[in-house]
């Protein structure tokens, strides 16, 4: 899309709202398939870091090992440097290494009376750029577990790069709001109503962006949606704007791969050059 930024017929993005965890934008001048691809990519194919392996040295807490490991996996990690890591399967190392993973340690023992709450910020990272997400410096993060007197937890976690296609823990977004045609001008949907559509179906705020068609005008059955309203909410591992950016890049890479594969199909003799390229990310 880089080449078409100034193309008046090309897709356009207009950001309506942006904060730490969410972005609200309008994508216009494009096809529904492109818009949906962007949505799907944001949910499932933008890589992030997440704890993938947990070695238990000691766990006398009430939570069982696999349950705690699952909890740790769900902790969002700051992943703005995710591009610097390789996927473990692409890495040259045998098990895991600095190139493809970040290590975390957690060793807490409750010695006082009462309950000792262990927070995600107590995970000690081996990489300053990858750490559990917090909302500001005072935030202790997510409660991982609670310990009573005498209980101890000593674990070693390995966070790896991955995509949500594989496991939901790698998903950078909580939800992606997606809408087109708020007035139902295209009549994709037959609203069910008891007395009146208007009263029973509240309009979304995106309705202000578009005009409702004149109900008496002839219906244009060839019309297609061109404007799409997104509301992307992240879990904090990536900044919203970089999430959208990374998603477009992933999409581009995939299309690039597809383009190459098509070329290859048309020019079979150029096969030799293609061997070392990975068409699908």
């Amino acid at each position: 899309m880089d080449g078409h930024v100034n193309d008046p017929n090309g897709p356009r993005i207009r950001i309506r709202h942006l904060d730490e965890t969410s972005i609200d934008f309008v994508l216009s001048n494009t096809h529904l398939s492109v818009a949906n691809s962007l949505r799907r990519t944001m949910i499932a194919e933008v890589p992030t870091m997440a704890i993938d392996l947990v070695e238990f040295h000691d766990n006398t807490s009430m939570l069982v090992d696999e349950y705690l490991a699952h909890r740790l996996g769900m902790v969002p990690l700051t992943s703005h440097t995710v591009d610097e890591f390789k996927l473990t399967r692409d890495c040259t190392c045998a098990d895991y290494c600095k190139e493809c993973s970040v290590e975390f340690n957690l060793h807490v023992k409750c010695t006082e009376e009462g309950t000792r709450t262990v927070y995600s910020t107590e995970l000690i990272s081996s990489n300053k750029d990858v750490s559990p997400v917090t909302e500001g410096p005072d935030d202790k993060g997510i409660i991982l577990l609670k310990l009573r007197k005498g209980q101890e937890i000593n674990i070693h976690c390995i966070a790896k790069k991955g995509v949500a296609k594989e496991h939901a823990k790698w998903s950078p977004c909580a939800a992606v709001g997606f809408e087109y045609d708020p007035h139902n001008n295209l009549r994709h949907l037959d609203y069910w109503f008891e007395k009146s559509v208007k009263n029973e179906w509240p309009l979304s705020k995106n309705a202000q962006e578009e005009m409702e068609n004149d109900p008496d005008a002839p219906f244009d059955f060839k019309a297609e949606p061109t404007t799409f309203y997104y509301n992307v909410e992240t879990v904090g591992s990536l900044k919203p704007q970089s999430l959208v950016y990374m998603a477009t890049r992933v999409l581009q890479e995939k299309l690039g791969g597809l383009e190459l594969a098509l070329d290859e199909d048309q020019n079979p003799e150029s096969n030799a050059n293609m061997d070392d390229t990975e068409p699908w990310v």
Binding site: L32, N59, Y67, H70, A164, A175, L189, W192
Partner: protein
Amino acid sequence: MESPVNASVGFRTLERQAKAVNPGQKHEYPQAQSLTEPHIQSFNSIWERAGPRTPALMDVAMSLVEKQTVFDHKGDAESPLGNKIVFWMDTLRLDHPALSARETKSANRLMYPTECRQRGITYRGRLTGMLHYQVNDNPVVSEERALGQLPVMVRSNRCTLQGMGPAELIRHHEEAEEMGGYFIINGNERVVRLLVAQRRNHVLALQRPSYGNRGPGFTPYATQIRCVRRDQTSQTMTMHYLTTGKLVLRFALRKQEYMLPVSLLMRALVGATDKEIFEAIVGGDAENIFVRDRVELLLRSGKEHAVHTRDQALAYLGDKFRVVMSAPEDATNIEIGQLLLRRMVMVHLESDRDKFNMMAHMVRKLYAVVSGECQEDNPDTQQLQEVYLPGHLCLAIVKEKVEDFLLGVRAEINKNVRQDRVDLYNNRYLARLFARVPSDVGLKLQYFMATGNLVSKSGLDMQQVSGYTIVAEKLNYLRFLSHFRCIHRGAFFTELKTTGVRKLLPEGWGFMCPVHTPDGSPCGLLNHLAHKCRLTTVVEETDAVESALVRMGVEPGLPAPAQRDPHLLTVQLDGRVVGYCGQAVAARIARALRMLKLQGTLPFSMEIGFVPRSHGGQMPGLYLFTTPARFLRPVTHLATRQTDHIGSFEQVYMDIACLDADVRPGITTHQEVLPTHILSAVANFTPFCDFNQSPRNMYQCQMGKQTMGTPMHTYPYRTDNKLYRLQTGQTPICRPRIYEDYGVDNYPNGANAVVAVISYTGYDMEDAMILNKSAHERGFGYGSIYKTEYIDLGKFRKSGDPVTQHFGMGPDALGRADLLEHIDIDGLPLPGARVDDGKPLYAIIDDVKGRTKVKNYKGEPGFVETVRLLAGGLDDELQAIAVTFRIPRSPIIGDKFSSRHGQKGVCSVKFPAIDMPFTETGMQPDVIINPHAFPSRMTIGMFVESIAAKAGALHGVCQDATPFQFDETHTAADYFGEQLRAAGYNYHGSEPMYSGVTGQEMRADIYIGVVYYQRLRHMVSDKYQVRTTGSVNPLTHQPVKGRKKGGGIRLGEMERDALIAHGAAYFLQDRLMNCSDYSLAYVCRTCGSILSPIAAPATSHIVDLSGGDGEKTQSFTGLSAAEASAIMAAAGSSVHAGRGPLDLSCRLCQTPDAITMVALPFVFRYLATELMSMNMKVKLDVK
């Protein structure tokens, strides 16, 4: 109606957390504690006085056990019976459970339930009794006698946990809200089931065709009374009406039936003359020709025995019953007659006059039902029922076993008399005599608890011999608590072809839950008590009631014909005729008694059953009941606004309104406290159940009990065979108010799921449900199973033998790194280690073989949760361990889920999140179900829950889902619709959705909301069965059956028929032959036998490898097995040549020439052999 927004509904998360962290001294959920009340209180009443004049039931029972008298027959002519010994037992005491004296290593002697559960032993205390005996007129000798270890009910007054609050219970490794009410037998929690019994001390009129077949002259008419003694044991008597006008009374004594003429009995009771009997029966109804004629016939029929006085009657009875009553030898016939009347006839009454009066009433009612004056009673209505309480059952068993002990001693003395070894003046003889007879009453009760089988000589007046106890499975909270509330009609009725007993009758309103019963064979027989229904357990003192009755105008005794008033009603208190009065007086008395009862002057549990005179209805009268084991429930008394406890007998004749609108001034006296009181605890947990089609609520009651949830918080202290645990439980957003009362929030049973109702991709057809893969990955429905295995090395060792096996790693095993990875150096499993099928689990050093034996783990992959070292009784050395495994069970395709509305489904696919449909706000459903699940099932409650919980989630509030809150003018759809609208959502709960695959908006708006989903315990991992090859039955060579053994699934006759109908011949051949018992057999074409071709002797093996040429022959001697099979294989290929392999020859034809190989099912060969053994030949016509 009040607004459904109720302040009492809330999540109260922090409140509950605070209580969990700092448990108090008082129970937080008294209502949950009340669920087991009938169990505990009935057990307590055995040992504890209920009041100053009501002794503990055990003491009552012992006072009713007859003293045994035996003679040594060493007498002279003057007293031929010789010396006399009288012995009896009393003062039975039960100690708190404690370690036995033989276990010397523990300083703390008291035993707590958790220890019994973990060690797999019985929670029991020492039972002792005082044995007294007296020889002739010498002083009475008393000694304490040990009666074994008696199981103790948890949280009863003999339990070590008695009176503990949450804090202390937790310290003893129990649930904070432990309810008790069960016994721990061999580590299992077992409950004595509540059983329906006939209402005690009340005469029932019956009409059964089977009565007519009892003998010549018998008619279908009878009256029956189940008399209950003061110690709560019972004796049922039936009075039959014969065509001759005679009446006979039938009762069972030691499981043997006896019939006695009623006129004889009435004479024996009080020595009544014919006139007295006539007047007692006819009463004020002197003009009733029918009754007068019958009584005349009755009296005339009594003449055949030539018995005219009381003594004659008693002597007659005594003579007939001398042997069966096992009366003392010196007793006269009259004494035995009196004994019979005391022990068998109208046993709930003490005085003979009362017995006589009641007998007269019984006769009168029988005549009334024969003449059609009153209706026969329906014994299946709750009105005429009560309950066998667990405590009373235990007491009856203990009492009978003590009686058996005394009879045993008596039999022993009599045996010694015959052997002439008896010496009653020898103390050593007596000591040995009493020691010789086994008296382990505790063991007998333990057997009863462990098996549910009643072993009894008398039958205890019960209708069944087995099925009394059940395991209280802790599958989840709902299942556990419903065990204490379930009430069974009796095993006898399960066999019954007629379905009348299963019918839901209006008499059960408020006592039995109309919803909570299983479908299928136990439907209607296995019911559950409504959640506010109580069972009385206390024996009340009734003097005040009686004096009140007399004061208010009840004439004592029976009405006399001289009064000439046919409308006098009988007034009975607990089956005793107090007197009679007119109808108007009776009505006034009933009202007055109710007020006295509400004031607290009379027992609150008293039932005032006023049956007014009617045309052919129930026998009129004023029937009062104060006895234990009755149903009782609270309703509001309108005049005083007080809570009145009413019973099932009186309810039928009361005017109770349900809602305010139902109150009819001047008529209605009572009103329901809440409409939900008619439902059981579990049925009450179904949200908005009033919107559902009724069978769906029944299904939910079943499914709620099969849910994989949170049964307990004490996992570390449990060694149950199998325990389920939902690791990611949530509290439902939408729940009935009653959740709070029972503390269900502490035991979550599922999770709130976003549910869309769409037909999407076809994977949700036929009740399948699509699960969002991301929801699953985030922990939706994630559960574990805890399995415990006991490993006891001493199991096969006889006591006294030396210990030869020890846990441990010998020098031969310590060097093996592969073992140390799995097993600790002490030979035990490593806690926390992963275990896989076939991997080492523990190691034993075997002294006999002198090496280390490694035992492997069998089963699913899991983790070792705990390893418990068990003190196996008296061994010094560790011989027994209990290993608990934790097996993760993440939801997989094929696992079963359900909502709380009887909508179950199987997970058919885990769909990637990006392909799931989504709403404009980006919500994706966790679960997709098909709209076709609704039209026929009409579970509207699920729709309501969906929008209610959606609105609750949007506003962050907890929703009240108590049924009967909405009506036509104030609908749930509007109430929750407004909440949705306020949150900016569609009023009806629908939203536009987009296809996740294409991004296109769907053609219809989709109903999407939040529904609480339960994960059911039925998981494919426990059920899948697959086999290619495997073990076969040695006899038939067919695959074995059974999943555990790796067997096959039977392709039965009907499946075969279907395949034949489809013409799937090849497939049929494959299933029935090739994959089953395919075998090759030799058959002789000449004689057609498959059994006659037999290998020639080994010395003359001649194999023709030329394929039938016969000229080039080779001879072998001493073939090895491998060679032989090679040759056989080669020969097998030459079958078609027409000649068999030459080392075979037909025994019958004496030639190898005609032997051919054919493929046969192996079982056919077996058939041929079996037929041969019966001299039948099977001939195969091979072409």
